[in-house]
């Protein structure tokens, strides 16, 4: 059970865990990759939609068309043919509803070959007014008003047109809308161009026509105007678009993924754009499939490993150091990976937070600029109030006459009216043509005010209105529906009014001071001028600040005196912001540097928008610092892990290797196997124990050498006989006994014995036998009594029975006789010179069993020349091969038969090799001893 859990744990930690975490990590990476791709696709699609929305809005489309055309024309000023070509190309782009009128340096219309736009006379007159050519006469505006209105719709007055130089002037004429564009080549020149487009293309037409050609084929697109249920333009199936738009609207999200495509809506002022691009998931699915397959394979391998019996970690040799390192790395790998992942997530979050904070900061800053525009209104009020008090409180019309033109000149007002109590103007200051066409109404209204508010004064002072106010207009002014009522009820304030296309701030106030001629003061300021004044100042002020701020004029599509920002990226960003009406934050590069740009569409300031650039390094540096910190943390953790591993090696591995070294030496029976471990922990103790152990082993070593001394040290030279002895102890000390003693010149005693068991106790027994034999021989041998003697000695000395088998052999060289007594020993073999062998089956009681008075069985052999007596201990035949097979007698006989004719030493060698090969690396269980006596005399006669 324990091992099963251990196995499970190992497989879990080294198999499942890395595999699982790798799998999870890979999956996370895939998901990340997917979401990143998705995010890129989304932002790309959004930008594409913005680009399309921008390009397809008529204003932008025509403006660009104009710009492109004019720049081409400026390049090829001279040739009318080339110009005609350009014109015809533009006409092919946007149809026949396009008229261009060119004027030369004298302000006269130029004729282009093959091109004759309609209404050239009226436009020529218009040009006279606009460029103030020599043909221009004072009051032409009034005279031409009707004609212009017929041509361009009711709104088109010379004044309005004049105010829109270089801008597209949107016009409305009989249900259709159009554009007018005019521009002088330079501020003073009389030459220039007027373009009239009537009616304009609708966005859907632009999309379908000139613009649609450039669209990416993969992009599906639909466009709704706000008031329509069905898309007015679509590429792809309309049904789909309706369905998807419904889905997006009901789910309140701006995007949707359906049918492998990403759908995105963009709400703009002109309508809703719905676009889609394919986001193919194929590769991701493929990758995820591969990942799953890999994971499954890994799992299978682990399952196989886990349930395979032969898998046992214990059998794999791994150095402890490697194990330690591996475990330590596993232990810190998961938290470190967690740290890495959390760290990266945290840092990306931090980056986002920084961005959003930055965005907030910048928005606050830009809002402040916008808010400050209100101050412009206030300063206008202040100026007006000043003027008011100058004129009326101080009764100083002269000062007023001085101040008013200054206000006009400095761009603080466009028109100042001062009306006397009789309804007639005292003074009117007017900046250019802002009010052409409005005077009558203003005049009527001011007189209405005088009459309504100052009637008590006129009565008191007997002043009659010179001209009666029109009762119908009085109705208008009094009616709530027209808003005049509100203006009438709030003197001394700024009113925002829109006269046609002119947005104006209007201040009026009256004075109820008896005796004073003046009655009503009315000041107009164009919001456009006010905005421009203000923004120029704001931008100049911001120069001293940190981040550059710029202003974009959406009407003219230009930057307000800031060339630095005139990069494609900042412009497209600006357009995106204006289109969506929300602040847009993007990373752009301007002037070779990276910036975080925030485009802020002006609300109060429209059509002006603001952009703020912040050096990207502000965020990047902080994020990079955090990344560095994370990397540092990881490095520190890893180095600490390595350091700890090193320490572990020091603390654990060093003693272990030291012990290992000691063990290797011990196995080699090296006496200097002691270890030196300086640790104070268990290892130190272990080292001491080990050293102790080594001492004991050395002791055994010594004992072995002592025991070896008990075996015959030199070969006994027996004339005519050859002997061989072989002894191999199973352990350090053996229990086998083998000896020969030269009794006299002719008699030799040979002994081979085996104490039951082996090891030290056997060795002691054997030593005892040896001593007994020694004494017996010394005292003069009684061969037949010897076994009894030894046996009784053993019995006497050892109360605990130690049995010993022994074969006593007495060789007499004179007659080559060999007397044998067997005390329970294996039967020796007599191998005749002709190869035949004979077992000397001699039985007898082993020594030390009991006192036996009976004379042991005794046999005399005759060793003929070439005959060989082979005696052995049972280890030879009882040897066990690793597979459990036992050697046995039969095999021995076979082998011995082969040895006929060999010298005893060779026989020993042979048998040893046979035995070794049979053992084949197994453990020797018992001591092995062999004793061979061979008659090597040439002839038997010699012996006599």
């Amino acid at each position: 059970m324990k091992s099963f859990w251990g196995k499970l744990l190992v497989v879990f930690i080294f198999g499942l865990l890395p595999a699982g975490s790798l799998y999870l990590g890979a999956q996370r990476m895939l998901a990340q990759h997917r979401s990143e791709r998705f995010a890129t696709a989304k932002s790309e699609l959004r930008q594409e939609l913005i680009r399309i929305a921008d390009a397809s809005s008529p204003g932008s489309f025509y403006f660009r068309l104009m710009e492109g055309m004019l720049s081409q024309m400026e390049k090829r000023e001279a040739s009318p043919v080339a110009m005609a070509k350009i014109v015809s190309r533009v006409q092919s782009l946007c149809g026949q509803d396009f008229a261009i009128y060119l004027f030369d340096a004298k302000g006269m219309p130029r004729n282009l070959p093959g091109y004759a736009p309609p209404n050239r006379f009226v436009v020529g007159k218009l040009w006279d007014i606009l460029a103030e050519t020599p043909l221009y006469r004072e009051g032409d505006e009034h005279r031409q008003l009707k004609r212009l209105q017929v041509l361009l719709g009711a709104e088109a007055t010379a004044g309005v047109i004049k105010n829109h130089e270089g801008r597209l002037l949107s016009l409305k004429k009989k249900r259709s809308s159009g554009f007018l564009f005019w521009k002088r080549w330079s501020q003073q020149s009389l030459a220039g161009v007027v373009v009239i487009i009537f009616p304009v293309l609708k966005p859907q037409q632009i999309l379908a026509g000139p613009f649609g050609r450039h669209l990416n084929n993969d992009l599906q697109l639909a466009f709704w105007s706000h008031d329509q249920e069905e898309p007015v333009f679509s590429r792809g199936s309309k049904v789909d678009f309706n369905y998807l738009r419904g889905k997006i609207e009901t789910s309140s999200t701006e995007y949707l993924i359906s049918a492998g495509r990403l759908w995105l809506t963009l709400n703009t002022g002109s309508g809703v754009f719905l676009g889609s691009v394919a986001v193919s998931d194929d590769t991701e699915i493929h990758r995820a499939g591969m990942l799953n397959l890999l994971f499954a394979m890994l799992m299978t391998i682990f399952a196989v490993l886990l349930f395979n019996r032969s898998f046992d970690l214990r059998t794999i040799y791994l150095r402890t150091g490697s194990k330690l390192l591996a475990l330590l790395l596993v232990a810190i790998a998961i938290p470190t990976a967690g740290l890495l992942m959390t760290g990266i997530t945290a840092i990306t979050t931090h980056e986002k937070v920084l961005w959003s904070r930055l965005e907030k900061d910048v928005v606050t800053r830009l809002t402040a600029v916008e808010d400050d525009f209100a101050e412009e209104e206030r300063s206008f009020v202040r100026h007006c109030n000043d003027l008011h008090s100058l004129a009326f409180n101080d009764y100083s019309l002269a000062r007023y006459q001085e101040m008013a033109p200054v206000m006009i000149a400095s761009g603080q007002a466009v028109r100042l009216d001062l009306i006397a109590l009789n309804g007639e103007p005292i003074s009117v200051f007017n900046q250019g043509s802002w009010f052409e066409g409005l005077e009558k109404s203003i005049d009527a209204y001011l007189r209405y005010l005088v009459q309504k508010l100052l009637s008590h004064r006129s009565r008191a002072e007997n002043v009659e209105l010179r001209r009666k106010t029109d009762p119908v207009l009085n109705d208008v002014f009094a009616s709530n529906d027209f808003g005049f009522a509100n203006i009438t009820s709030a003197p001394g304030q700024v009113h925002n009014v829109r006269f046609g296309l002119n947005e104006l701030m209007w201040y009026w106030n009256y004075i109820d001071a008896p005796g004073h001629p003046a009655a009503i003061l009315s000041v107009f300021q164009a919001r456009d001028i006010a905005r421009q004044n203000f923004l120029q100042r704001a931008v100049q002020e911001s120069d001293s600040g940190q981040d550059p701020v710029a202003v974009f004029d959406a009407a003219r599509q230009t930057w307000l005196d800031r060339d630095f920002f005139a990069a494609d990226e900042s412009e497209s960003l600006m357009r995106a912001a204006i289109l969506t009406g929300k602040p847009e934050l993007r990373r752009i590069s301007v002037g070779g540097r990276k910036w975080l740009a925030l485009a802020y569409p002006g609300r109060v300031l429209a059509p002006y928008s603001l952009i703020n650039l912040t050096d990207e390094r502000v965020v990047r540096q902080r994020v990079e610092t955090m990344y560095y910190l994370l990397a540092l943390a990881i490095v520190v953790i890893l180095s600490v892990a390595l350091l700890i591993a090193r320490l572990l090696t020091e603390a654990f591995l060093k003693p272990v290797t030291e012990l290992d070294r000691g063990m290797m030496l011990v196995q080699k029976r090296h006496p200097e196997a002691k270890v030196c471990i300086a640790a104070g922990d268990e290892f130190g103790e272990l080292g001491q124990a080990f050293n102790h152990m080594v001492d004991e082993l050395n002791e055994m070593q010594l004992a072995r050498s002592v025991q070896e001394a008990l075996f015959p040290q030199e070969k006994l030279e027996i004339p005519g006989f050859d002997t061989a002895i072989f002894n191999l102890a199973a352990t350090d000390l053996g229990g086998d006994y083998c000896d020969y003693v030269k009794l006299d010149e002719n008699r030799y005693l040979f002994l081979i014995g085996d104490v039951s068991g082996h090891g030290t106790s056997a060795a002691l027994c054997m030593a005892m036998a040896k001593a007994a034999v020694f004494k017996a021989c010394r005292a003069g041998l009684d061969f037949v009594a010897l076994p009894g003697k030894i046996s009784s000695l053993l019995l006497r000395t050892l109360s605990r029975k130690k049995m010993m088998t022994m074969l006593f052999m007495l060789l007499d060289v004179r007659d080559c006789s060999l007397q044998l007594i067997n005390a329970g020993h294996n039967w020796p073999l007599l191998i005749r010179g002709d190869g035949s062998s004979e077992e000397i089956s001699l039985v007898g009681m082993p020594l030390g069993v009991r006192e036996s008075k009976r004379k042991p069985e005794h046999r005399v052999l005759h060793l003929a020349p070439g005959d060989m007596l082979f005696s052995y201990t049972d280890a030879l035949i009882e040897v066990q091969a690793p597979d459990g097979k036992v050697y046995g007698h039969e095999d021995m006989y076979v082998e011995l038969a082969k040895t006929a004719g060999l010298s005893p030493a060779a026989v020993v060698e042979h048998m040893k090799s046979v035995w070794n090969s049979f053992l084949s690396g197994g453990v020797q269980q018992d001591d092995l001893t062999m004793l061979i006596i061979k008659n090597v005399a040439k002839e038997p006669a010699d012996v006599v």
């Binding site: 930690i13 008031d227 470190t336 006269f499 090193r646 572990l648 102790h692 050498s705 000695l793």
Partner: protein
């Protein structure tokens, strides 16, 4: 030895360095980093909290600085103070007026009781009459003609002023715009009349503030609680100019046309100071650690700590580093994630507001189609006048303000107009129609020009001119136009009919934008349009109708505070507000298309917190998992190291106890596994030796045999398991006793072998009937020499004791001479000095001597350990010393004597004896002594 020392010193340098890095540098560094991060975060948090508090303060201030709120509160307090139970007297009113700074703020508190003015006249000045009039008109007991008064009051307080309006605003501030300018009216009847409105003449207050005080003036009247500790400035410019002082916190608020700057010196947590503290703390830490290190015992204790604690410490150390990083980053992540989520919630809220706002576009489209559909109605075609009923029905839903149908001659066929805006359009309407018909139906007029009155020319000119933006409208019929002029907005629709079969030729419809907005809000908000999967709640506050949609909100006040904030800032605002006892992420913005409306969008903060909780629990699980993993790895560690080592230790301890039955389980195949295997082998060897010990134990008698007339004692203590000493008592066939004591060189197994052999020979001889000591010694000498060739020698002393005579025949081969005590004195022992056995074959004759032991004589035989052992002075005892020791115990019987001697020796000599110890004490009994 020297090289070993060197290597160990090198190792110790490294380990010292590592320990320094791990125990000192790294923790200090980590603490420093973490501490700085926490300090930074904390100071940022504090700063943010300070900014929030400042923001709230600024909100409260700007709330008060709004004149409407200020005076609302001010007048209410005045009212409450006035009717706090005391009698209302002119004196009190005067006092209160001073208390409430009536003169400075410029309001006139007219207090009435029983239909009469209570306020002293000088407080009201020239307004006395006006105020009395106003009060009387309001309560309908005017002394003058009501109509005159009303007209007068209308002039004074502006056209909208009416009794009804006044009552609607009872207890509240009512703004008026009269010919004298703007001001406020606060009107409330006294508490007892509030319940009985119809009773006359009532009492109450009528306060008029004739001119709006500027915000700048109001600043001086702020309650102290709000203004202490902060610097308040009102400026016209919004741009914040930071005067280089980073410790200055500034909050900007928009109040009307001014910007309120509330600034405060940030006086919280000093970052540098905290960092200095941290540095000092770290220095102390370093010092403490250095002191501990210098002490040395610290490191020693670390060195000698058990493997388990070392391992656990190291693993925890290794794991805690990344975990602490994980926790730090996780914590940071959570905080910022929350910020982002709240940001997202704000975005979603703003988005829902935008959506809702833009939804009005659709409503407009619906309105347009409704307007268009009107002219397609069969009624309209047949007889437009019959359309009226339908329109009046529609009008109940407030979808049309004004509808007019005219025929080709611009004569009215049908007209309807809502009562509230009923004003004569008359000639203008005709002019408009005429213009349209002229422009678009010129062919239907068929050359018949309409007669135009002179008055109409002007109007036509006005309309045709660009004034008021009408021109554009007249170019495009059949569209919904938004006409705005002077802050007043309407939707305007008109069309002409081309079909000659239709009688009518011109239709014009208009709708007030405010009403349209109101309809939209009522239709959509009351139906609870929900955004963000229903989590986002939307509210709208109409500033025209002072109404909050949807209406049944629990506590409007909490929302209203936020609404006022939005109104003040006049732009989108984000905040976290508490409403209905729950925190909400709130966004508010003034409607862009939905004019005069403030839109609020609430998202429950709980949702954010729930998401954060999910992430947090994920993080916690990750940490727990990592710890569990570390534990698992620790258990594997113990499998790898600790358990094998512990296993080994138990083995070693078993070995110490000579417990040879203990076998080690081999845990793995590595160095430790091999070590276990070796230990097992050793155990086996030991078992072997222990079994051999049993044999040796049989060779050497445990106790001395009982020899008649003698008392003997024998002790044999082997140094190792097997000893090299030999001693024996053997009875000879002739009744004498053979006593042998010997010492083989060395000890252990090898010596045991020799002793065994000696024993065998000696036994053999002892069995011999003609025993001879010298023969035995010669034999032994030969045996040892022949077998071991001087490798193993033996000292041997043998004696034959004749128990009856007390005669002892001795023979000695190099053994220390026994001590012979007679009459308590050491007797000279015959000098029997021969080389030990097995040393040489020459001189094989060993000296012999005979000793007569008298009764009470004591013979002590011993092996050399007893004289070689160092005594307490560190010098070996020597035979003299040993003799002295023996004499000390001589009076005791041999057994006790032996015990005494051994105890003394063992106590004197420190530690174990490193050689076998054998001692025989033989004493001849005195006659009196019992056996």
């Amino acid at each position: 030895m020297s090289s070993e020392k060197e290597s160990s010193s090198r190792g110790s340098f490294f380990s010292n360095f590592a320990a320094l890095a791990l125990l000192l540098l790294l923790p200090v560094f980590a603490i420093w980093l973490l501490g700085s991060a926490i300090i930074a975060q904390n100071s940022e948090n504090l700063r943010a909290a300070g900014e929030r508090a400042l923001d709230q303060r600024a909100e409260a201030i700007s709330e008060l600085l709004e004149p409407e709120n200020f005076f609302g509160l001010h007048f209410r307090r005045f009212y409450e103070e006035l009717y706090n139970g005391e009698a209302v007297t002119p004196e009190r009113v005067r006092q209160l007026a001073i208390e409430f700074s009536a003169r400075q703020l410029g309001f006139c508190p007219a207090v009435f009781a029983d239909g009469k003015l209570v306020t002293p006249a000088e407080l009201l000045g020239e307004h006395e009459v006006e105020l009395t009039d106003a009060w009387e008109v309001a309560n309908k007991y005017s002394r003058r003609h009501t109509l005159t008064s009303s007209k007068y009051l209308t002039r004074l307080f502006g056209a909208p002023y009416s009794r009804m309006m006044l009552f609607r605003h009872e207890g509240r501030i009512m703004k008026f715009t009269g010919y004298r300018g703007d001001g406020y009216i606060f009107f409330q009847r006294s508490p007892k009349f509030a319940a009985r409105p119809e009773e006359f003449p009532p009492a109450g207050v009528y306060i008029v503030l004739w001119s709006m005080p500027s915000t700048t003036e109001l600043i001086n009247f702020l309650p102290n609680a709000l203004t202490t500790g902060v610097h308040i400035a009102l400026r016209q410019r919004a741009a914040i100019t930071r005067a280089g002082d980073s410790q200055l916190q500034i909050v900007r608020k928009k109040i009307g046309e001014h910007f309120l700057f509330v600034s405060r010196k940030f006086s919280g947590f000093n970052r540098t100071f905290a960092q200095t503290l941290l540095k000092v703390f770290l220095l102390f830490l370093v010092m403490i650690v250095a002191m501990l290190a210098k002490d040395g015992s610290f490191f020693a204790a670390m060195r000698t700590a058990s493997i388990r604690s070392k391992l656990i410490g190291l693993i925890l150390y290794a794991v805690i580093l990344p975990l602490s990083g994980l926790v730090y980053f996780g914590w940071k992540y959570l905080a910022e994630r929350r910020e982002l989520l709240i940001q997202d919630a704000w975005l979603a809220c703003q988005g829902s507001i935008n959506d809702f706002d833009n939804g009005f576009e659709k409503d407009k489209a619906r309105m347009l189609s409704l307007f268009r559909s009107l002219k397609e109605k069969p009624d309209m075609k047949a007889d437009p006048a019959r359309l009226k009923d339908k329109v009046i029905r529609l009008d109940l839903d407030n979808v049309i303000n004004w509808l007019e149908v005219r025929d080709i001659d611009a004569e009215v066929v049908m007209t309807t107009q809502r009562r509230e805006t009923a004003e004569k359009i008359g000639i203008i309407g005709k002019a408009i129609a005429r213009l349209g018909i002229h422009k678009f139906l010129g062919h239907r007029l068929a050359g018949r020009s309409q007669s135009v009155k002179a008055a109409e020319v002007m109007v036509q000119e006005f309309l045709e001119g660009p004034f008021g933006g009408w021109a554009r409208i007249f170019e495009s019929p059949d569209e919904l136009h938004q006409v705005s002029f002077g802050g007043y907005e309407i939707y305007w629709y008109w069309d002409v009919y081309n079909d000659p079969g239709i009688k009518a030729a011109f239709i014009v419809i208009d709708q007030n934008v405010r009403w349209a907005v109101r309809n939209y809000l009522a239709a959509n908000l009351i139906q609870r349009v929900s955004y963000g999967h229903g989590a986002v709640r939307l509210f709208a506050w109409s500033s025209v109708y002072s109404e909050l949609w949807p209406g049944e909100t629990y506590s409007e006040d909490e929302l209203m505070i936020f609404v006022r904030q939005v109104r003040r800032s006049n732009g989108p605002r984000n905040s976290i507000i508490r409403w209905n006892g729950v925190d909400w992420v709130a966004a508010g913005a003034p409607g862009k298309k939905l004019v005069d409306t403030v839109l609020l969008s609430l998202y429950p903060l709980d949702e954010v917190d729930r998401e954060i909780a999910i992430i947090r629990s994920g993080l916690i699980w990750a940490v727990v998992f990592a710890l569990i993993l570390a534990l698992l790895v620790g258990s594997l560690f113990s499998h790898t190291i600790i358990r094998p080592v512990a296993n080994l230790m138990t083995g070693v301890q078993a070995l110490r106890r000579r417990d040879t039955s203990h076998r080690l389980e081999i845990w793995q195949n590595d160095e430790l596994g091999r070590l276990s295997a070796t230990l097992n082998a050793t155990t086996e060897t030991l078992a072997d030796i222990i079994s051999a010990q049993a044999i040796q134990a049989q060779l050497i008698p445990e106790t001395a045999p009982i020899i008649e007339g003698f008392t003997g004692d024998l002790v044999y203590i082997p140094a190792a398991d097997l000893g090299g000493d030999y001693c024996d008592f053997l009875s000879l066939p002739d009744g004498r006793w053979l006593m042998v004591i010997g010492d083989v060189t060395g000890h252990g197994v090898s010596s045991a072998l020799v002793t065994t052999m000696i024993k065998a020979v000696v036994t053999d001889y002892a069995a011999d009937s003609n025993f001879s000591l010298s023969a035995m010694f010669t034999c032994l000498n030969e045996l040892l020499f022949s077998q071991f060739r001087r490798k193993k020698c033996m000292t041997l002393f043998a004696a034959v004791i004749n128990s009856s005579t007390g005669q002892i025949d001795c023979i000695n081969a190099g053994h220390p001479l026994p001590l012979h005590f007679s009459n308590d004195a050491r007797q000279q022992f015959p000098q029997l000095c021969r080389p030990p056995l097995g040393f040489s074959l020459r001189n094989s004759v060993f000296p012999e001597a005979t000793l007569q032991m008298a009764a009470g004589d004591c013979l002590i035989l011993y092996t050399d350990i007893l004289i070689e052992t160092a005594d307490s002075s560190g010098k070996p005892y020597g035979s003299e010393g040993f003799a002295r020791l023996c004499r000390k115990y001589l009076h005791l019987p041999p057994a006790q004597m032996r015990v005494g001697i051994l105890e003394e020796i063992q106590s004197e000599s420190s530690g174990d004896l490193d050689d076998d110890l054998t001692m025989i004490i033989l004493r001849r009994n005195t006659a009196t002594e019992p056996v």
